[in-house]
């Protein structure tokens, strides 16, 4: 700080402190962090409602409803987690300043994330064909709501990841944009095991 408290100029007013403050956290990172916190609360609310509905039901899952693909989704979860690992590798390369080394893990993360969404979509089509719809039961309603909201986030995160990869290729990926992308992707990856554990198991 360059200013002394209480010092006054010739006009009797305190001089304006023109010290340039260095940014503690990039704006994009802080904004994304706050957004992710609100999204965590959104998922917490849905999971809480699901837990109460599940505990109140005499039999869960309700009889006559198709069973969820537990094994296939477990495998798909591994794919999503692997994309998180790929992004960690990209993060390390970024902080070492080795931008060329981070391109491959970024593409891998993008590809694995896309595979996850496509497989989820395929499972949804299969479940809809078997009669599990948003209106078939509370089970179906909660399933499509919670997993659907996660899928929307996954779509958004893939878009962001694609933008970050393009920027990296063109040589203008900033730490702020990459940090924000990382936070959102890690949120999508991190919340999935909880959703899987609560909804599928």
């Amino acid at each position: 700080m360059s200013m002394v408290a209480g010092s006054q100029g010739p006009d009797g007013l305190e001089p304006i402190d023109r010290t340039v403050r260095k940014q503690v956290v990039p704006h994009g990172v802080l904004g994304m962090l706050l957004f992710v916190l609100t999204e965590i609360m959104l998922f917490a609310g849905m999971i809480s409602a699901f837990t109460i509905a599940k505990a109140s039901a005499p039999i869960w899952p309700p009889p006559g409803q198709p069973r969820l693909p537990v094994e296939a989704t477990a495998l798909n979860s591994v794919v999503l987690l692997a994309s998180g690992v790929a992004l960690i590798l990209a993060h390390r390369a970024f902080h070492k300043g080795n931008r060329s080394a981070m391109l491959r893990p970024m593409w891998v993360a993008l590809a694995l994330g896309s595979i996850f969404v496509v497989v989820q979509g395929y499972e949804w089509v299969r479940l809809l064909g078997e009669g599990l719809t948003l209106f078939s039961s509370t089970y179906g309603a909660f399933f499509y709501l919670i997993v659907g909201v996660h899928a929307v986030h996954a779509f958004g995160a893939i878009g962001l990841l694609a933008m970050a990869t393009t920027r990296l290729q063109n040589g203008y990926l900033t730490p702020g944009f990459f940090g924000a992308t990382e936070i959102f992707w890690f949120f999508v990856v991190g919340v999935w095991p909880i959703v899987y554990g609560v909804v599928y198991l």
Binding site: V25, M41, K54, A55, S56
Partner: protein
């Protein structure tokens, strides 16, 4: 004068609320789901999710604020070090 009117309004509002509470208690139920708790598992789910929804935001807030303070201190320390040169 205005203060007295405000106080009178507040007292009337309170009396109306109490009247509703005692005359038509079913209208005044604050908890829409408490009456539906019939089993032990549901009760446990309510307690668990209430605790979850209470402590999760508080925990997150502490984590984020703590992280921000740490970053600020690190930054200030760095700036101080460069300033000495």
């Amino acid at each position: 004068m205005m203060g007295m009117r405000k106080l009178a309004c507040a007292v009337m509002l309170l009396c109306s609320a109490l009247l509703v509470l005692f005359v038509v208690p079913s209208w005044a139920e604050a908890c829409a789901v408490c009456g539906s708790v019939q089993t032990e598992s549901t009760r446990k789910a309510f307690v668990g999710t209430t605790a979850f929804m209470t402590f999760l935001p508080i925990g997150m807030l502490f984590l984020v604020v703590g992280w921000y303070i740490r970053r600020t201190l690190e930054k200030e320390e760095q700036e101080g070090r460069f300033g000495d040169r």
